[in-house]
């Protein structure tokens, strides 16, 4: 298959090794047969020793039982996905540590007072986490319940259809970061700065969480989740529920990218905690931090005391 080939049904980009389109499953045409064929019976022979060969389920390849040679058959190339592009780090180690220190200082009243001074930084790991970047057009059919037009029930059904474009939709495929952590990082990446992953670079680029054959379901689910969010404002009414979408994707292209982030591990009074600093925007920091349970208990007691006082006053009245 030539580079830049597209599926004739959905205009999605085809990749080297695809036997069928990853979006609409239309088979990729086979290369033309080399010569005219005549009807005859033949015994397939080993190119090494000329003995008859048969398919061996144990080797998953045609194999000569005499000399053990195997033949290759064209099949879906299903490697573990690997990023071909990356966003460079815009935050160095010192800036990441400074961001973390600032974040520890702003942890609020419930955090221990000594958190900023006593937190011990243990590791600073730059990670380039894996994600798919999808561009596609879609016709999105939707249904939902909303309060618009409701009669006796609080809900009335609605349906509609919308054209949608998905530009540079980032779909996390990270093994090291949780989906929630990825979701918090994604809005702050500037994809205009992406560059090819250098072949001889020493930077550790995370491998994807899925093989290519499983990527289709990941991407499809993420597109539907995104479509569902974008459909909601188009559902008439103020309240809505049961929003369902069906997407007909066209012209989908998928690239694999590594996105920068700092994973910082720190210890406070013996307990380990983890925080993430965005690799391009140092002000984006989130993670887990300890609570001062004495303050939490005092506030809880104060709330209980106030509620008790109100109840007593109410009963007395």
């Amino acid at each position: 298959m030539s580079a830049g080939a597209t599926c004739i049904r959905c205009r999605g980009a085809l990749e080297e090794g695809d036997l069928r389109c990853a979006v609409c499953a239309l088979p990729v045409p086979a290369p033309p047969a080399s010569a005219e064929r005549h009807t005859r019976a033949q015994v397939l022979r080993c190119t090494d020793c000329n003995a008859a060969i048969a398919f061996s389920p144990a080797h998953q390849a045609p194999r000569c039982a005499f000399c053990g040679a195997t033949m290759a058959i064209e099949q879906l190339v299903d490697p573990l996905e690997v990023a071909t592009e990356r966003l460079p780090f815009g935050v160095d180690r010192d800036a990441a540590v400074a961001s973390l220190r600032g974040w520890l200082r702003r942890r609020g009243w419930f955090a221990p007072k000594a958190l900023h001074d006593e937190a011990v930084l243990e590791s600073f790991t730059p990670i380039s986490w894996a994600a798919w970047v999808v561009n596609a057009q879609a016709t999105v059919a939707w249904t939902a319940d909303s309060d618009e037009g409701a009669k006796r029930s609080a809900w009335a059904p609605h349906a509609g259809q919308l054209p949608m474009r998905f530009d540079s939709l980032i779909i996390p495929a990270s093994r090291g970061l949780s989906l929630e952590e990825c979701r918090l990082l994604v809005p702050y990446y500037d994809l205009r700065r992406k560059e090819p992953v250098p072949a001889d670079g020493d930077e550790v680029v995370e491998s994807f969480d899925a093989q290519r054959s499983a990527a289709r379901q990941h991407v499809q689910r993420a597109i539907e989740a995104s479509a569902r969010n974008r459909v909601e404002p188009h559902v008439p009414g103020r309240r809505r529920r049961n929003v369902h979408v069906a997407c007909l994707l066209q012209g989908q292209t998928t690239s694999r990218i590594a996105l920068p982030a700092w994973v910082l591990a720190y210890r406070y009074r013996g307990a380990p905690y983890r925080a993430i600093v965005h690799g391009q925007r140092p002000e984006v920091v989130f993670g887990r931090s300890p609570l001062d349970w004495t303050k939490v208990a005092l506030v809880a007691l104060a709330v209980v005391a106030v509620v008790t006082a109100i109840v007593i006053a109410f009963l007395a009245a």
């Binding site: 005859r40 019976a41 008859a52 058959i73 059919a141 059904p157 609605h158 069906a246």
Partner: protein
Amino acid sequence: MRFECGQCGAALSFDGVRSTLCPYCASPSIVERPASSEKPDPVFACAFAGDAAWARVRLDRWIGRRMIVADPALRRARVEDLKGIYLPAFLYSAVARTDYSASIAEHYTETETYTKTDEDGTKRTETRQVTRTEYRPLSGEHLGYVTDVIVSASAGLDHDTFARLEPYDLRQLRRYAPALVSGFIQEEFSRGADECLRVSRTSAADAVGDELRRFLPGDGYADLDWRMEVQWESLDPVLVPVWVLALRYRPDRPPVRVVINGQTGAVVGTVPLSWWKLLLLGLGAAAVIAAIVLLVLYLREPPPV
């Protein structure tokens, strides 16, 4: 069709198959011929995941799980004609646009007033919350790709049996090459593309119907009516692996035909039942139920004073 074995020269019959093993020298032979509309060249094939021993393990496991109700003679059944066959099938995909209309059920609660009579005959008026349903009309269009629909193109294996053998993991598809089927029997296409297209559309409509039911809003629905229109259909000849065998369990009874999915090991067949085992099971179940009922009655009975 008859050809000579390319190894030993013995006469080989290729009736209904495209590849076979020579009964004399065990050489695998494959018929090479131009593709035609009745006998198309397969585009893809799923490979066998294991050999005959692999199939026997699945078969023994399947028999073992059914022995509680099966004829005891099945345990000692003789396996006859265990063959690995590449079964012809068609792989269908399309764009489906479906117009639908339905009455959507939306629940709501109402406070209902009712009269209750006490044990002493006094009548009291009380209220309770009841859930009622309002039906609202909804119509629209559902759209999407229908993919991975496979139907049997073998006259020897009906569509229902094939459906019970599914699914096949189509991520493991390979481009068809004669070397892939060498050593196994490749059955020729014996059902036409037109018939398979009709069956595929029915399967596609079932899949779209299931999706449509999940797509509807509300708390339920009634009077769902829908019309699917397919575009950009593709129907491609493929081969899928099956193990076929006959289980001869009694000399005076016909053998049981068993088909095994050559990729997943799913087994399809009709087990000969043992009526006395079924009777004993029924009696056992009745005894358990009777014991539970008696126990409940005993516990509810007030203790003697």
